[in-house]
């Protein structure tokens, strides 16, 4: 049985779904550049919009990004 909460969460995902998206492997190879530029400028680095979009639909990559941030900040 699909719960209303699950349907609601799915709707949120559909709202941020793009026709073309990068997958988790592509994200992995670009996240280091994304993090370093974001740390340096404090804003979304140009050319990394697809990385930011992936973060909206992938909780696992979000979790890894948070851990990476913490590791780099020491």
């Amino acid at each position: 049985m699909i719960t209303p909460q699950e349907l609601q969460r799915l709707l949120e995902l559909l709202d941020v779904t793009h026709t073309d998206e990068i997958d988790c492997t592509e994200f992995l190879h670009r996240v280091a550049g994304y993090v370093e530029r974001l740390e340096a400028s404090g804003k979304l680095p140009p050319g990394y919009e697809d990385v930011a979009q992936h973060l909206e639909v992938c909780p696992e990559c979000n979790e890894e990004l948070e851990a990476l941030y913490r590791a780099l900040r020491g």
Binding site: I2, Q8, L11, H29, A32, E64, A71
Partner: protein, 203 residues
Amino acid sequence: MAVRPEPRTNEDWILALRAGGASATRELEQMLERTLRKMMRGRFAPQDIPELVQESLTRIVESLEAFRGDSTFTTWAIAIATRVAFTELRRRATRSRLRGAVEASFRDARHSAAASPEAAIGRQELLAALDLAIRERLSARQRFAVLAELRGVPTITIAERLATNQNALYKLVHDARKKLRQALIEAGHDADAVRHYLSESAR
């Protein structure tokens, strides 16, 4: 007075690791060990860390061709080690506490095809349309993958259950989301309607 060696450049790292250089490998191993011990404190026992480091080293060396030089090499290497550690953590979570969610998703995905649209009666129109689209537009594999992800089942576990890999799984779920979005548009709920519903329900 001892002279501290210059830090390696990205090119130094790549050349040394490609050549199997012992000094670069040892330096990377020590850096990963320090990082993972700190990052995974409380999540892994200390004795598990060396195995994660070795697995990370293997993955890094295997993936050298994928390094594009748009960051420092060590940040990229830590990102890969982070993926290795969290993937192992998620495997363990499935073995212990998420097995029920996997089985429920598998069961629901099979039964959804036979369920009647009347099951959605009482839900708001948009949610009912989505419920119907899940039943009618998605394959059983897509239904299982979408439901399991919504229930927090790790993608590594879903991929293994479907006998596929994580990239193919991402495509399967992405295609499912696109199908569902199209089905909602055809039912009269375009992107603006979805956004309006979400903003209303957030109040």
